[in-house]
Structure formats: structure tokens, C-alpha cells
Symmetry: C2
Subunit: 329 residues, 2 copies
């Protein structure tokens, strides 16, 4: 077994590693894990194991998105189990399809891992990805496995839209801005993990395993949403993307939010304004959408602001006094 400085990074005594099993053995193990989650849908004509997967599509659109998760940037093996890393990797990608008003059908997964990685870690990751995908009826149809110094998980997701996809650039002055799903929980969870805490449990769990409001995207599209985006950089930052793409301004009403109790507890413990988690947190993968009228907003969505002429994003009419979201460099 390879030398180790961190027990969470290597197999326990006697545990099988990726190097033990080899490339083709690992691929077989991963395929078995994925098949154990669900029978592939009828749209999968050829799954993993050939040069490419083959999917049946109906006339129309295919929606496609890709995201990378890099160890120690997007996840830490001591902060989340492999299964949860898988759930999160899939959720983040499935959410992009949700944000177009579509439903995911198929995923491919590229995986770079160090040879001393436990086989069980990789299988748990694969199971997490496949189980999150199964929530929306999507299948893992292919992938690539290679050696790397750090773990990298590259997920690409394909989906379908029943109606025209909802883009970021359709917001118009007078539109109502609404939010579906939780907001700020993942950021609060990350904040406590970053300080070495493991509670409140609810926010730590929210960080480890986001629960995107699958179905809300197609619902908003059906309801005539003019623009839509998922919250991955931060609520204000992502509204900024919509404002820029649409050539409009967005004003957020901070009074629209009831800050949940666990976020208040984290704010009090860390000396932070709990509303900042709501306004700047990313990675809960809620949806932000604009609608022409308040009546068009589907049930379960929270009205949080309005679109006006101009540019930029304001909070109660004022520029936000803080960092609106996360960037990678």
C-alpha cells in the first residue's frame, strides 16, 4: 500500500485499492454498482462498455452541460463521504438541466483518481451519482477512468425539454423574480465545516447533499418563465448573470426571506449576518426565474424581487455591501 499521511485518503489495512483492482477491474466494479441502482431507461440503447454510449432521442432538443469537481476545491474527503460527493456531483449537473426547464436523461462521468484510492470509495461515489440521477429518471451511460494525483470528477449531463428551453437573457422590466428551493443552507454548512465544526447538522447535511428542486424547472418553463438560472455562484451573483444577459436591473427585497433557524444559529455562532448566507450562498442549486406577472409564479416559489430598467443587482434599492458570490480564481 502507498505511504499515507492521512488515514481518510487511503484504504484501511487490507482494503482493496484502485491499483490492486486495475483499470478494467475497476470499470467492471463501477458498472456493476451503477447497474445495481436501477435498470437503464428505455432511452439507453447502448450503455457503458463500448467506444460510446447510444441514446434514443425524440425529434427536438438535446440540452447538455458539464461540470468538474476537484478534490480540495469542491470537496474534501474528510468533510464528506464518497457517496455524498457523488450525490453532489450529480446534483450540480442535473440542476443545470433543471434551470433550462428540462429533465436530465443521461450522464457521463470522467474520473481521475490516485492509485491508492480505496475501491470502496470509488464505488460509493458511483452509487451516489447513480442514485441522484435516478431521482429524475436519468442513467449513467458512460465514462472514463484514469490516474491522477488528485481526484477529479467530470460529469456531463444530457437532457430533454418539452418546450423551448428557458435562457438567462429573457428577463424584462416589470417581471417578478422568484426562487424555488432552499437558499443559504449549503453556504452555512460550508462555513461551519471551515471552522472545524460539524453542527448544526441540518446545514452540514445541506452542504454535503444539496436537494435541488427537480421538477421546478420544467414547471417554470410551462408557466412561461422569461428567464431562469440555478443558484450555483450565489443568489446575487447569479441574478447578476441574468441581469447582464437580459440587459436589465434586478432589485431583491430582503424582507421576502424568512431566515431559517439553523442559519440564524450559524450566524450567531460565527458572528455573521445570517441573511448573507441567503444572499450570497451558492450550491443549494435552487432556481431563480422571472415571470411576467405575479400570477404566473407557480405555487411553492417565493417572490423575492423585481426586474427594472437599468443594470446590476441591488438589495432594497441599494448596492449590496459584500461579495455577491464565489469565483474560482
Amino acid at each position: 500500500m502507498a505511504a499515507s499521511t492521512s488515514s481518510s485518503r487511503t484504504a484501511g489495512a487490507g482494503a482493496q485499492t484502485v491499483a490492486d483492482l486495475g483499470e478494467f477491474g475497476m470499470i467492471a466494479a463501477i458498472s456493476e454498482t451503477i447497474r445495481g441502482v436501477r435498470e437503464p431507461g428505455e432511452h439507453v440503447l447502448v450503455g457503458p462498455g463500448d467506444d460510446a454510449a447510444v441514446l434514443r432521442v425524440r425529434q427536438g432538443h438535446v440540452v447538455v452541460s458539464t461540470d468538474l469537481l476537484v478534490e480540495d476545491r469542491h470537496f474534501r474527503r474528510d468533510w464528506a463521504e464518497a457517496y455524498d460527493v457523488g450525490r453532489r456531483a450529480a446534483a450540480q449537473n442535473l440542476s443545470d438541466i433543471n434551470a433550462m426547464g428540462g429533465t436530465a436523461t443521461s450522464l457521463t462521468v470522467g474520473l481521475a483518481v490516485p492509485p491508492e484510492t480505496p475501491v470502496a470509495w470509488v464505488r460509493d461515489l458511483a452509487r451516489g451519482i447513480a442514485e441522484e440521477a435516478a431521482l429524475v429518471g436519468a442513467d449513467v451511460v458512460g465514462g472514463d477512468l484514469t490516474r491522477g494525483d488528485a481526484i477529479v470528477v467530470a460529469v456531463t449531463v444530457l437532457g430533454a425539454c418539452r418546450q423551448a428551453p428557458v435562457l438567462r437573457d429573457g428577463a424584462r422590466p416589470g417581471d417578478v423574480v422568484a426562487l424555488a428551493g432552499r437558499q443559504g443552507w449549503s453556504a452555512a454548512g460550508l462555513a461551519v465545516l471551515g471552522r472545524g465544526f460539524r453542527s448544526p447538522r441540518a446545514v452540514v447535511e445541506a452542504y454535503r447533499r444539496p436537494e435541488p428542486p427537480y421538477g421546478a424547472g420544467p414547471e417554470a418553463a410551462q408557466a412561461g418563465a422569461t428567464a431562469m438560472i440555478d443558484v450555483s455562484d450565489g443568489l446575487l451573483a447569479d441574478l447578476g448573470h441574468v441581469a447582464r444577459a437580459s440587459g436589465v436591473a434586478v432589485d431583491v427585497d430582503p424582507g421576502a426571506f424568512t431566515v431559517p433557524e439553523p442559519l440564524q444559529a450559524v450566524g450567531a455562532a460565527l458572528g455573521a449576518d445570517p441573511l448573507s448566507f441567503v444572499l450570497t450562498g451558492g450550491e443549494d442549486h435552487g432556481l431563480l426565474a422571472c415571470f411576467e406577472t405575479a400570477d404566473a409564479v407557480p405555487d411553492g416559489w417565493l417572490r423575492i424581487g423585481t426586474v427594472t430598467a437599468g443594470e446590476g443587482v441591488t438589495v432594497a434599492g441599494e448596492p449590496y455591501d459584500g461579495v455577491p458570490g464565489h469565483t474560482h480564481f
Copy 2:
């Protein structure tokens, strides 16, 4: 500028880095580079910049494949320019679609890079990917950019088949095995680079920039190929995949190959049998296909063997005395 121990890994004095430009500036620069290569095809309804790309598909199949390239495993920045790494990353993926009998239409690219990476390196990589894709009329439609300690390029390619995709499992005893494209050149190039040489130039160039026989895949499908695979692990190793999937044996006739002069030169210089590059080399991304009769083999393909009952791959009836190809662990 970040501290540096290797001039080939960081920008020269004053050169702009990814950290200087930031995530959104980099994405804009990459998008501009890609748009400079070609106008997106009509199948691209929404390109990069939204939560997902939207592609127009006709009724039928979508073929999808994904591959990772990890720095210092699949490429070295001192062995190949960024542009060539991009060409190779795209070629490797486009080849998987070719091997199904399809034609690629769209690619997504996930990219992890250290912050001190020169902007010019990333732009050259993107240009290489987009120009290789343009050879078959495919477009880069989306991607993800993030920070990583080593460069990882994750490419996913989507394609279409005019007829039923050709899988690995359809070879039958009596079939003729044929090869399209160069074979062994890339392996010979890698061998000389590994010894610190830069010549013969032809094989080094072949390693840096493979030239898959695009079009040969759909041609073979049209001609009724019973099984097909691209050579990426090594000729004998990939025939082994076909033999296993089809439940047959394959015998290769070594006399079918004329070993090209540059490979003979490399063999002589390194004290290696030049035929070993042909039989075990991968990454030229030629195609191996099986046909029911010799008459069915399209012009330009080289007949190299036969399918028989049994299992495994032999050379002139004997087990091959060496490593048949490359594995990642």
C-alpha cells in the same frame, strides 16, 4: 505572478495568467477563441454561456463519449504545445464517435488549471480543440473552468449516426479484420520523447497530433462492418476488447503490415522491434473493423487478420510475446 520552478509551466515575465484574468474573463477569452475558429453549425441552438447548451437533433440516436486527459499522464507541457494538446484531446474523443460509425456534432470541455497557467496556454488549447472539431463539422458548445493543481482536460463529445451504430460485439468467425489509419506512429513518437529525443520528426509529430481517419467509421458502417473499435489502448489490446465482447478469437497476420521507415529508424535507434509499435501502440486512433467478406472491406482499409471461433488474440497463430497495450493503473 506566482512563484515558479519551471519556466515551461508559468507565464514569461509580464505574460497574463489565468489568475490575472479571473474566471469570467477567462471564459470570455475562451469563448472568443472558439468563435474565431468557425461559425457554430445550425445544430447549435444555444452555445456556451447559459446553464446548458441546446442542440437540435433529428429523430434517432445520439452517440456520446467522454475522455479525460491529465497533465503528466496523458501529456507533458514540455513535450507538446498547448495547441497540440487541444488537437489531441479532441481527436481522441472524436475518434470514439468515428468508431461507432457516427459523426461528431458537439463537444463540451471541462478544464481544471492552476492559477499561474498563462492565458495564452489556455487559449491555444481551446483553439486546438475547436480546430480539430471543425475538421468534422463539430462545435464546442459548452464547458466548465475551475482551479486545479494539475491541468485536467475533460472532453465529452456528442455525435449522430446515419445508420445503426457499430458496436464491439458483432464479430463472427470467418470475418475479415481490417485497419484504417496510421498505426504505431504515436507509440514510436512517445518512445523517442521518453528517451529525451525530438526526432524522427514524423513520429514525434504523430504523437503530438494524431490524425484519425475521420469518415472511415461511417464508411465502414455503410459497408456493413460487424464490429468496430478505435485503437486507443493498442492494436492487440483493442482487438482483445472486440474478441471478448463478441465471444470470438482474432488472429493477426504480421505480414500484412509494411513497417514504415520512421518506425524502423526508431526501432534501430532504441533497440526495439519496430513491429511492436504497430502491434501494441495506441493513440494513433486508427479504426479496427470486422467485415463478413474481404469484398466488403472499403478501399483504403488494410486487411490485417481474421476472426475465428475461440477466444483471445494471436499473432500468426501464436500468443503475442509482450504487453499488448496500455492500462492506466
